[in-house]
C-alpha cells in the first residue's frame, strides 16, 4: 500500500517552532490556487512504512550482488560516518574560502591519490556520475580539437561491446558515432580500428578490461593507432576495479578518463545514486577542465578558474560527500590495499568462472579480469531456458542476478562480477545455486519460466507498464 492510501487527513507532525515575527502573506496574484496534496502521516506510521519498503529491497548487506559492470562491493560504515560529520554536511557551498579549507583539502587529496592511481595529471570532481563524467570528458576532447582549429574531427569511435552510456554521451557532446566491431576474442578488431581511425576521428572511448571481462592485450597498439590518426583516447573507468594499483590508464595511452567512485571506490549506490564521476586528464587537457578546480596556492587551498574551460557541468563542486567517502576508503587501503583489492576481485571472478564453466559456457575462453560473461545460447536453444530464466531463478536463492543481456555482442548474456569483498563461502554457495538451477533447467525447464517463487511479487508485466504508463499514484489505479 502506498503512502497516499495510508494518508489520514488531519494527521501530521509537530516539527517547526511557532512563528516569532508578524505574519506576512504572499502577494495574492502569486498565491497558489490549484489543488494539490501530500500524504498526511504521523511519524510512527511513516517509520513503519519505510521499514516495510526496506524489507522489500535487496542491498549489498542483504546478500550476494554479482551485478556485472556495477562493482557491488561492500560499503564500509566508517565512510558513511565520516561523510556525515557536521564539519562537512553543514557547510554552505558559497562560504568564504577561508572557511572551507577542509572541504578543499578533501578534494585536493582525493585528486592527488586518484591521479597517482590512474596516471592522470589533474581531476575534476564536478561530474555527478559516470555518464556525466563521460559527457564532461568528451567535451574536453571537443574543446581540445577546437582550440587547434581542427574542426573536422567530429567522430567518436566506440566498440560494439561498450556500455550504452558511451555512444549516448558522445551523441550529447555533438559527435557522430562510429561502431568498432569486436574480434573473435571479444577485444577490439585492430584492422577495423585502423580502417576507421582517420582525420575525422576526435577520439576513441574504451573500457579496459572491457565489458566481456577481458584485458585487451593489444591496448598499447590500440591507443597508438588512435593517436597516430590525431585522435585522443578516452578511458571509461567503470571497470577500474580489476586493475587499480596494477596498471595505470595514463600509461596505457589514455588522455582522459572518468572514474566511478560509487563502483571502484566503495561508495554506496543509494538505489541508483548519488554517484560521483570525476574526470581526470593529462597535462595538455587541464585548461579545458570544468571550472572551478581546487589547487594549493601559498599553502592555502584555493579555487582556480581557466579561461579555456568547457564551463560548469553542474552547480557547485559535484557530489562532495561521495568524495569524502572515497577518500576515507583510499586512506584505508593505501598503497598495498589498492592492488590487493584489485587482485582479489580478479581472483574471485576467476574462481567462480572455473567452477561454473563446465555447465555455463563463457562467452570467451581464458582468464577473466574482475568479471566474466556467460552465454546461455545453447541452453536457450536446447531447453528453452533463457538468461532471464536463470537470473530470475537466482532470486529464489537470495542472490541478486548478474547483469542480463549485456554486452549486446553476446547472445543470452549473463555478466557476473563478484567483487573482492565476497568470501569463498559466499562464492561456493552461489556456484551451488547456479549448478542446482542448471540441473533444473535440464530436467524441468518449465519450472524456471515461473521463477521467482519466493519474492514479494512474481515477474511484472513490463510491456503493460510501458504501453499504458502509470507513473504517479491515482486512486482509480488501485
Amino acid at each position: 500500500m502506498t503512502l497516499f492510501e495510508k494518508s489520514q487527513p488531519g494527521c501530521g507532525n509537530q516539527l517547526l517552532a511557532s512563528l516569532d515575527v508578524p505574519t506576512v502573506e504572499l502577494e495574492s496574484a502569486f498565491v497558489r490556487q490549484s489543488e494539490w496534496t501530500l500524504p498526511a502521516m504521523a511519524e510512527a506510521d511513516l517509520s513503519r512504512h519505510y521499514t516495510e519498503l526496506a524489507e522489500k529491497t535487496h542491498g549489498v548487506n542483504n546478500g550476494f550482488y554479482p551485478l556485472g559492470s556495477c562493482t557491488m562491493k561492500y560499503n564500509p560504515k566508517i565512510n558513511e560516518a565520516l561523510a556525515a560529520l557536521p564539519g562537512f554536511t553543514e557547510i554552505h557551498p558559497l562560504q568564504p574560502l577561508e572557511s572551507v579549507q577542509g572541504c578543499l583539502e578533501v578534494l585536493y587529496k582525493a585528486e592527488q591519490a586518484l591521479c597517482e592511481i590512474t596516471g592522470m595529471d589533474a581531476m575534476s570532481f564536478q561530474p555527478a556520475a559516470g555518464a556525466h563524467g563521460e559527457f564532461t570528458g568528451l567535451l574536453l576532447i571537443k574543446a581540445y580539437h577546437q582550440s587547434r582549429q581542427d574542426h573536422k574531427r567530429t567522430k567518436i569511435l566506440v566498440p560494439d561491446s561498450a556500455h550504452g552510456t558511451n555512444p549516448a554521451s558522445a551523441s550529447m557532446a555533438g559527435f557522430t558515432i562510429v561502431n568498432i566491431p569486436s574480434n573473435d576474442e571479444g577485444c577490439v578488431d585492430l584492422e577495423a580500428l585502423r580502417a576507421a581511425a582517420d582525420e575525422e576521428t576526435a577520439g576513441l572511448m574504451l573500457t579496459n578490461p572491457n565489458t566481456v571481462g577481458l584485458f585487451d592485450r593489444n591496448i598499447l597498439e590500440i591507443t597508438k593507432i588512435v593517436h597516430e590518426a590525431g585522435g585522443l583516447n578516452y578511458y571509461d573507468g567503470a571497470n577500474l576495479n580489476a586493475i587499480m594499483g596494477i596498471v595505470r590508464p595514463g600509461e596505457m595511452g589514455f588522455d582522459v578518463i572518468h572514474l566511478n567512485l560509487h563502483k571502484t571506490f566503495s561508495t554506496p549506490h543509494g538505489g541508483g545514486g548519488p554517484g560521483s564521476g570525476p574526470v581526470g586528464c593529462k597535462d595538455f587537457l587541464i585548461p579545458f577542465l570544468p571550472n572551478p578546480h581546487a589547487v594549493v596556492l601559498e599553502e592555502e587551498y584555493s579555487w582556480e578558474e581557466s579561461l579555456h574551460s568547457i564551463g560548469r557541468v553542474r552547480a557547485f563542486y559535484g557530489n562532495f560527500l561521495v568524495v569524502v567517502k572515497a577518500l576515507a576508503y583510499i586512506l584505508t587501503l593505501g598503497k598495498e590495499g589498492i592492488p590487493e583489492a584489485a587482485a582479489n576481485a580478479v581472483l574471485n571472478a576467476n574462481y567462480m568462472l572455473t567452477k561454473l564453466k563446465d555447465l555455463y559456457p563463457p562467452a570467451y575462453d581464458g582468464l577473466c579480469m574482475h568479471e566474466f560473461v556467460l552465454s546461455l545460447e545453447k541452453l536457450k536453444k536446447e531447453k528453452g531456458v533463457s538468461a532471464m530464466d536463470i537470473a530470475k531463478s537466482l532470486l529464489d536463492y537470495g542472490i541478486h542476478p548478474p547483469t542480463m543481456y549485456f554486452p549486446l555482442i553476446v547472445p543470452e548474456a549473463l555478466m557476473v562480477e563478484p567483487t573482492e569483498t565476497e568470501s569463498k563461502q559466499t562464492l561456493d554457495e552461489a556456484v551451488e545455486a547456479f549448478r542446482t538451477i542448471y540441473a533444473t533447467a535440464i530436467s524441468e525447464p518449465e519450472q524456471l519460466h515461473a521463477a521467482p517463487q519466493s519474492t514479494v511479487i512474481g515477474r511484472p508485466d513490463e510491456v503493460q507498464a510501458a504501453r499504458s504508463p502509470i507513473v504517479r499514484w491515482r486512486p482509480e489505479h488501485q
Partner: protein, 438 residues
C-alpha cells in the same frame, strides 16, 4: 592496512589452485609488462579505521560551521526532521543499486513512485522522473529536451541562477543549441525584450521562480506569447516555495525543474543534491532518466518497475533521450520522506514562515540603511544595498558566527531567511550591523 577482503591467505591459495595458478600476479598475464606498475603506488600505507577517522575529522574541523546562515543562492539551510535521516540511512536503501530486478526491489521502486507522485503534485505537472543530478543539470536537460530540427534557440532569463546558466551553456556546447540571454530589468526578466526575442526558431524559454534575486516573475503575463510561438515554457522553481506560490502547472509550464536540496538534504558543500524534473503528459516519453511505473505481476498483484526504458541509453545507445544512468535516487528518497513528514500543512507552514521572516528582516535591514534594491514581490530572498564595504561587513558577521548574505556586487547583498532563523538571530544580525556603522 585492510582492504575489506574476507578470504584468508590460505583460502586465496586454495582458490588459486582451483583455477590452476600459483601466484596472484599470474592473473594479469594479459597486461603488458612494459606498463605494469613496478615499484608500487606512491601513496601512504593503508591506515586503521581510527587513524583514517582522525585524518578526515581534522579536515572537517578546518571548515567553519556558522551558527546562523543568511545565505541561500541555490543552497538552503532548512530544518531537517530527525526521522528523515534515520529512515533514509537504512542499509537496504543505502546499498542497493538501480532497481533493475523488480522482484527484489519493490521497496526502492515504490519509494521512487511515491516521490514521482509528490513532485507531480507539488509542481502541478503530470509526470516526474526519478531524478537527475541537480537543479542545474535538470534545467540543462530540460532545454535539451525541447530542441527540434528547426527550433534550436533557447531563451534564458538573466535572472536564472548564474551557475545554472553556465551549466546550460556547457550542455549546449555539446548539443549545438544556441542560447540567447534575456536581460534583467528591475530585478526580474525584461518581459518586453523576451517578447521581442520570441520567434519560430525558439525551442524554449527558461524562467526561474523565485528568480536568483529572490523576486517573483510575472510568468502569467508572458506565457501566452511563448506558446503562441510553439516554444516550450520551462520553469525552474524552489520546491518549498511551491507550497505557497502558483505552481508551474498552474502557470501552464511545459516542464518544471528545480533543485530539490531544500527538501531534507543538508548543505554538504554543494552535493549530493537532487535535480527534479516534471512534465506535461505529452512530453512524458521525452523525459531523460529513470521513470518508475505501476503494473501488475503474473498473479495480478500491483508491482512497480522501471518503465519507458526505450528512451534510455542502455537500449537506445546514441539515440537515447539522455546519457543519464546513475541519478540521485537516495536524495529523491530523502525528499519523499521529508515531504511525507512535513505533510501539506507542514510544508505550507514552512514556506509561510520563510516568507514572513524574510519580510521581517527586509524591513529591519531597511531601517538601518540596507535598502531593498527591488520593489517586487519576493519569497525568502531579496537584495539590499550595503552602506559600507561589503567584505568588511561580512567579515564582521563571520566573526560572530554568522554567515551573511551573498555579496553579488561591490555594494549589493543577496539575503536569505528560512524557518530555521529565529527573530532573536535576526535582531542580533541587525545589532552587529548597526554597531559596525557607528
Amino acid at each position: 592496512m585492510g582492504s575489506y577482503i574476507s578470504n584468508t591467505a590460505q583460502q586465496r591459495q586454495a582458490m588459486l589452485k582451483t583455477i590452476g595458478l600459483t601466484r596472484l600476479d599470474e592473473l594479469y598475464a594479459d597486461v603488458p609488462d612494459s606498463v605494469r606498475i613496478q615499484s608500487g603506488l606512491k601513496l601512504k600505507e593503508g591506515l586503521g579505521e581510527l587513524e583514517v577517522s582522525r585524518q578526515i575529522r581534522s579536515m572537517a574541523n578546518k571548515n567553519v560551521i556558522y551558527e546562523s546562515c543568511f545565505r541561500g543562492a541555490g543552497a538552503y539551510r532548512h530544518y531537517i526532521p530527525a526521522a528523515v535521516k534515520s529512515i533514509v540511512s537504512k542499509e537496504e536503501f543505502v546499498t542497493a543499486y538501480t532497481p533493475y530486478q523488480a522482484e527484489i526491489s519493490q521497496g526502492i521502486l515504490q519509494s521512487i513512485f511515491e516521490y514521482q507522485t509528490m513532485i507531480a503534485e507539488l509542481t502541478g505537472m503530470d509526470a516526474a522522473n526519478a531524478s537527475v543530478y541537480d537543479g542545474a543539470t535538470a534545467a540543462a536537460e530540460a532545454v535539451a529536451l525541447c530542441q527540434e530540427r528547426k527550433k534550436r534557440v533557447a531563451l534564458i532569463s538573466s535572472c536564472v541562477h548564474p551557475q545554472v546558466i553556465e551549466t546550460i551553456r556547457t550542455y549546449c556546447f555539446g548539443n549545438g543549441m544556441e542560447i540567447r540571454l534575456i536581460e534583467e530589468k528591475e530585478g526580474v526578466t525584461d518581459l518586453e525584450q523576451l517578447q521581442e526575442a520570441l520567434g519560430p526558431e525558439v525551442a524554449c524559454v527558461l524562467l526561474q521562480q523565485p528568480n536568483f534575486y529572490g523576486n517573483l516573475e510575472d510568468v502569467a503575463q508572458i506565457e501566452p506569447a511563448i506558446h503562441a510561438q510553439q516554444a516550450k515554457l520551462i520553469i525552474s522553481c524552489n520546491p518549498i516555495a511551491l507550497a505557497l506560490m502558483k505552481a508551474p502547472g498552474e502557470l501552464k509550464a511545459d516542464i518544471a525543474v528545480g533543485e530539490g536540496q531544500p527538501l531534507g538534504l543538508s548543505l554538504s558543500f554543494g552535493g549530493p543534491y537532487l535535480g527534479f524534473m516534471a512534465v506535461k503528459e505529452k512530453l512524458m516519453r521525452k523525459l531523460p532518466g529513470r521513470i518508475v511505473g505501476q503494473t501488475r505481476d503474473s498473479q495480478g498483484r500491483i508491482a512497480y518497475v522501471l518503465t519507458l526504458q526505450a528512451r534510455e541509453q542502455h537500449i537506445r545507445r546514441e539515440k537515447a533521450s539522455s546519457n543519464i544512468c546513475s541519478n540521485e535516487a537516495h536524495c529523491a528518497l530523502t525528499a519523499a520522506v521529508y515531504l511525507a513528514m512535513m505533510g501539506k500543512s507542514g510544508l505550507q507552514e514552512c514556506a509561510h514562515q520563510c516568507h514572513s521572516k524574510a519580510a521581517y528582516l527586509r524591513k529591519e535591514l531597511e531601517k538601518i540603511g540596507y535598502l531593498p534594491v527591488h520593489a517586487r514581490p519576493y519569497f525568502h530572498e531579496f537584495v539590499t544595498s550595503c552602506p559600507q564595504d561589503v567584505q568588511s561587513v561580512l567579515q564582521r558577521l563571520a566573526q560572530q558566527g554568522i554567515l551573511g548574505g551573498l555579496p553579488i556586487s561591490d555594494n549589493r547583498i543577496l539575503w536569505c531567511v528560512t524557518e530555521l532563523i529565529s527573530k532573536e538571530e535576526m535582531d542580533r544580525l541587525i545589532t552587529i550591523l548597526k554597531e559596525g556603522k557607528a
